[in-house]
């Protein structure tokens, strides 16, 4: 009984409950026949939201006003440039990965430079840098769709032991993030900065270093997700990251991470990412009209957030 109570006190449990509920309702439609197919699809597509969501989670945890709006543009630029450089050749995959990494690092540096040196609020800084990044992607090859190297295309679309490879990759990223957050000094620093920046500075936390590292991390993860998505869907497109702007923030919030910063939560990102994919699938399966679909999605998200943010009195 007490163990059950502690379980329900976890902020991430609600996103998993919601995902499981929606999953059940969806497979009931076909009498359970769609269970395997739906689970695989959900894991595949949730993987992208998880990877960008974890980056966004660290940024949001830095405290009020911290958010990275350049994620979609970063995904587009990384996908576009890496695919052009790899030129569909398996021999150039390492090169492509390196370029992806460099693009992520460069964008992270630019974002933090705008925030720190020019003292622009993060929302405005990342929004304006996203225009520049998007324009760079457009002028780089005007939306040319180059096929990914066959090995990467194969890897991103295949499954191992019935689980999509992308889900393993997302799991690896999540475990690393969880260790950094719960066991490592970096996670403590991020939380400390988010809880009270002045107190953290006085306690000797390298505040600027932590913030810079977090924006870098977020941009690198977004670039990686962009590369994976473009390999998965057979080529980069100029509008391919668009839906991850809101998704990346939504999975963080639904997952139980505090919007005001200071408290991060990695497992919740999984529950929330699966939930966001499944809720759309459920409403599509039951043939809800677009208006009702958006209305229900919004209502369910609000309900989950309310449930997750009701912290028990201790």
């Amino acid at each position: 009984m007490t163990s059950l109570r502690t379980l329900f006190a976890k902020p991430w449990i609600w996103s998993f409950l919601a995902a499981a509920g929606v999953w059940l309702v969806t497979i009931v439609f076909t009498g359970g026949a769609s269970a395997a197919g739906l689970s695989q699809a959900a894991l595949t597509f949730a993987a992208f939201s998880i990877i960008v969501g974890i980056g966004q989670m660290f940024v949001i945890t830095l405290g009020p006003g911290n958010v990275d709006l350049s994620i979609p543009a970063t995904m587009t630029l990384a996908g576009t440039v890496a695919l052009k450089i790899m030129d569909s050749s398996n021999g150039l995959i390492l090169m492509g990965l390196l370029v992806t990494l460099l693009i992520g690092l460069a964008i992270g540096i630019i974002n933090y430079a705008l925030i720190k040196l020019l003292r622009i609020p993060p929302i405005i800084a990342t929004l304006s840098s996203s225009f520049i990044i998007q324009s760079a992607a457009i002028s780089y090859n005007r939306g040319l769709r180059i096929k990914p190297p066959s090995a990467l295309a194969e890897f991103t679309t295949a499954t191992t032991l019935g689980i999509p490879n992308l889900a393993y990759l997302a799991l690896a990223v999540s475990v690393a993030a969880w260790v950094a957050l719960e066991k490592g000094i970096y996670g403590r620093w991020v939380s400390a900065v988010g809880q009270n920046m002045r107190a953290a500075r006085m306690a000797g936390v390298p505040v600027d270093g932590v913030r810079a590292a977090t924006y870098l991390l977020c941009a690198v993860l977004a670039a990686l997700a962009g590369l994976l998505l473009s390999c998965f869907s057979g080529g980069a497109a100029l509008n391919m990251g668009a839906e991850y702007l809101l998704t990346s923030i939504a999975v963080v919030v639904i997952g139980g991470t505090a919007v005001a910063g200071g408290f991060a939560n990695v497992p919740g990102i999984w529950g929330a990412s699966l939930f966001l994919f499944l809720v759309v699938s459920m409403l599509n399966t039951y043939g809800a009209a677009a208006g009702i679909r958006l209305l229900l999605t919004g209502t369910i998200i609000i309900a989950v957030i309310i449930a997750a943010s009701r912290r028990p009195r201790t």
Binding site: S34, I146, G234, A290
Partner: protein
């Protein structure tokens, strides 16, 4: 013979006066969005056609402007700037059919010719080069009824929820289904006209759909994503209507060579911007142009696939650029 020479002389005279009338005129393109391959091709076509036209002295300028945010308010401000800059005509692909009406009216009151195309405006003083989206949806069912006379279950991929174009194409599709009751739409998802969104949405609904889907009706920009989702789920490939994107055509060609896959592809050529340019030029020239014009569809069938694929740039959209004669034909057809 003499008569002929006189006639030719007269034509030359007429043409040159026509040139003289617009050679000092300046035309601006107000575009609300550039973030996909269709819009990129649209801007490129504009440049391809207007640059020589400016060099030949047909018009004095034909500048293209795109707003950053795809917002009606931003585009309204852009149009107001164009009024101040003194353009003689504004060709506009609008972010909203109604939200720009105020700015468009201001332009008309300032004596500026406004021609809207693709994303049209409802303000009566502007010209409209509209797409018959409903017909585009209906044509898909006409084709399916020919190809699959016994009918079957269909999956519908819609565009961006809440956008007028999405409602129109979908209404046409449903009208087509009503006329061909052997077909039934068993599932409907929103693909936002983007391959990755369509792929995701279709992958989500596929597990719950019956195995015997015979066709996928689409809105363009979503066919390749749908095909990817069907392939990933290990399902039989249904007949997917394509939307003239190069990746869709390339995939269709691959399938055609491998197993004789048959479908058709229909969309609007991005070069419709050049049609709008010539229409604006004709109005400035003093020609009598009806306010409501209709854009011809660009349809690719099984036989024309190779030729279209060859002329479509990788990552682009099948395209045609319109000439002055094409514009005159469209104007004549509307009279």
């Amino acid at each position: 013979m003499k008569h002929f020479v006189v006639m030719t002389g007269l034509t030359v005279l007429l043409t040159s006066t026509a040139l003289a009338e617009t050679s000092a005129k300046r035309i601006a393109l107000s575009n609300n969005y550039a973030g996909n391959s269709w819009r990129q091709a649209m801007l490129q076509s504009w440049e391809t056609i207007t640059k020589p036209a400016v060099e030949a002295g047909i018009v004095a300028a034909a500048d293209a402007f795109t707003t950053a945010e795809n917002q009606a308010t931003e585009q309204a401000a852009q149009i107001q700037n164009m009024i101040l800059e003194g353009y003689d005509a504004i060709v506009v692909n609008a972010a909203s059919p109604t939200a720009l009406n105020g700015a468009v009216k201001e332009a008309c009151d300032a004596g500026i010719t406004v021609v809207s195309f693709d994303g049209i405006v409802t303000e009566p003083c502007a010209w409209r080069i509209a797409v018959d989206f409903k017909q585009m949806g209906k044509d898909q069912l006409t084709y399916l009824a020919e190809k699959l006379p016994e009918g079957g279950k269909l999956l519908e991929i819609r565009g961006l929820a809440g956008v007028f174009v999405d409602d129109e194409i979908s209404a046409g599709i449903h009208e087509g289904v009503a006329e061909n009751p052997q077909f039934e739409i068993v599932g409907s998802v929103h693909g936002d006209w983007a391959q990755d969104v369509a792929q995701k949405a279709v992958a989500g609904i596929l597990p719950s759909l019956p195995e015997d889907i015979v066709g996928v009706v689409t809105q363009g920009g979503d066919g390749y994503g749908a095909a990817q989702a069907f392939a990933a789920a290990g399902r039989d490939m249904p007949l997917i209507i394509m939307g003239n994107r190069q990746d869709e055509l390339a995939w269709w060609k691959e399938q055609k060579d491998a197993n004789g896959y048959e479908t058709m592809s229909v969309s609007i050529a991005p070069g419709v911007s050049t049609l709008a340019f010539w229409v604006a030029q004709q109005i400035l020239d003093g020609q009598d142009v009806p306010k409501e014009l209709v854009v011809p569809f660009l349809r690719i069938d099984q036989d024309g696939l190779e030729a279209s694929l060859e002329t479509t740039p990788a990552g682009g959209v099948a395209n045609v650029e319109y000439s002055l004669e094409d514009a005159q034909a469209v104007i004549a057809a509307a009279k």
